[in-house]
Symmetry: C2
Subunit: 174 residues, 2 copies
Amino acid sequence: MSLSRLAILGALMERPMHGYELRKYFEEAQGVFWMINYGSIYPTLKRLEKEGLVKGRAEPAGRVGGRITYAITKKGEAEFLRTLEERLKKEAFVRDEFTLHLFFLDHLDGGTIREVMEKKLEGNLAVLECIKRLDEELKGTLPRYRYEAVRRGRMHLETEISWLKSTLENPLEV
Amino acid sequence: MSLSRLAILGALMERPMHGYELRKYFEEAQGVFWMINYGSIYPTLKRLEKEGLVKGRAEPAGRVGGRITYAITKKGEAEFLRTLEERLKKEAFVRDEFTLHLFFLDHLDGGTIREVMEKKLEGNLAVLECIKRLDEELKGTLPRYRYEAVRRGRMHLETEISWLKSTLENPLEV
DNA sequence: ACGGTCATGTAACTCGTTACATGATTTC
DNA sequence: GAAATCATGTAACGAGTTACATGACCGT
C-alpha cells in the first residue's frame, strides 16, 4: 500500500472528511513534516472506495458539485492497522536527497556553498520556530506518539541547525 | 534533472566508470545514505549518452558482452554543476515516511510499538557502528564536504537513537 | 460584480522499483 | 565443472507531481 493511501486511511481513522478537508488536515496537523497533493487525494479516495476501505456520501445530499465526505469502513480500519504494522516492521531505506547533494558539494565554489548553507540555516530556523509554537500549543492535548513525532522532528531540526552552524564556522580553506 | 541522473554524473566527475562499477561505487562510498538500482543505471547512462553528457566506450574494445566505460563530457560537467546548484537552491520538501507512521502509532498496541521501536534502535545502532568505522577510516582522506556528509549522517543517527531511547524509557501508560 | 477560497476532478509526465533474462569471467 | 560474481539490459508496474479545468459559495 502506498504512503498516500495509508495517510488518507490514517486521517479518516480520526474522523470522516472530504478531499479538500484532508488536504487542510495534513497542512495543519503535520504540514511541516508531510504533505499530500490534490492530484493524489481524489484518485486515491475513489480507489479506496472501490475496494471498500472507505465509504463516501454526498453532503449535503443531492447538491451538485457539493462535497463528498468519506468515512473509513471496518474493512478499512483492519487494512490500515495491518499495513501500518507491516510497513513499520520492514526497515525502509531512506533516500536522503540532501546527503547526496552534500557528497558532491566540493565541486562548487566557496561562495555558492556559503550562500546555500546560509539559506538552509535560515529556512531551518524558521521551521524550528514553527515547530516550537506547535509544541507549546499542543503539549498535553496530543496523543502520546503524535507528540513524540513533533518532539522527534524538533530534535532532528536542532541537530541539522547545529551541523549547519558548525560547518559555516569552519569555512573551506582554499 | 532526476536524482539518479545527478548521482551518476556526480560519480563520473570523479573518474570514468561502467554501470556495474557505479553501483559498487555508491555501495561503498555512501551505501548507508543513498543507493541506486541497476534498473535505473543502464537506461540513465544510455539517455545521458544520447544527450551528450557522458561518452561510453567498450573496454576492452570489441569484446562481446564486455563492459562499457562511461566518462563525463565537458557538456556533462557544466550540466552537472548547473543542476547541483539549482537543486540546492530550491528548498526541497522532505517527505519523511517514518514521521507519517509515527503520527498514526497511537492506533497500535503497546507491545507492537515497543517491538518496532526496539528493532529500529537495534538497526540504527548497527548503522552508527558502520558510520563510525567509515569516519575513522576516512578521516583526513575525504574532501571537505564529503566528510561533512558523514559527520551530518552520524549526528542525525545519534539524535534518532537518543530519541528512540528516551521514548522507550517512557512507555505508554495504558 | 469581483476576488478569494471552497471543492472536485483529470491528463500527462517523470521517476524509481522489482523482477526477469542473458551470458561472460573468475575462483575453488 | 560448479558456484559466485561480473556485467548489461528490458518490461511492467506503482507512485507521486504538476498543470490544468471546472464551478459553487461567500463576503464586501
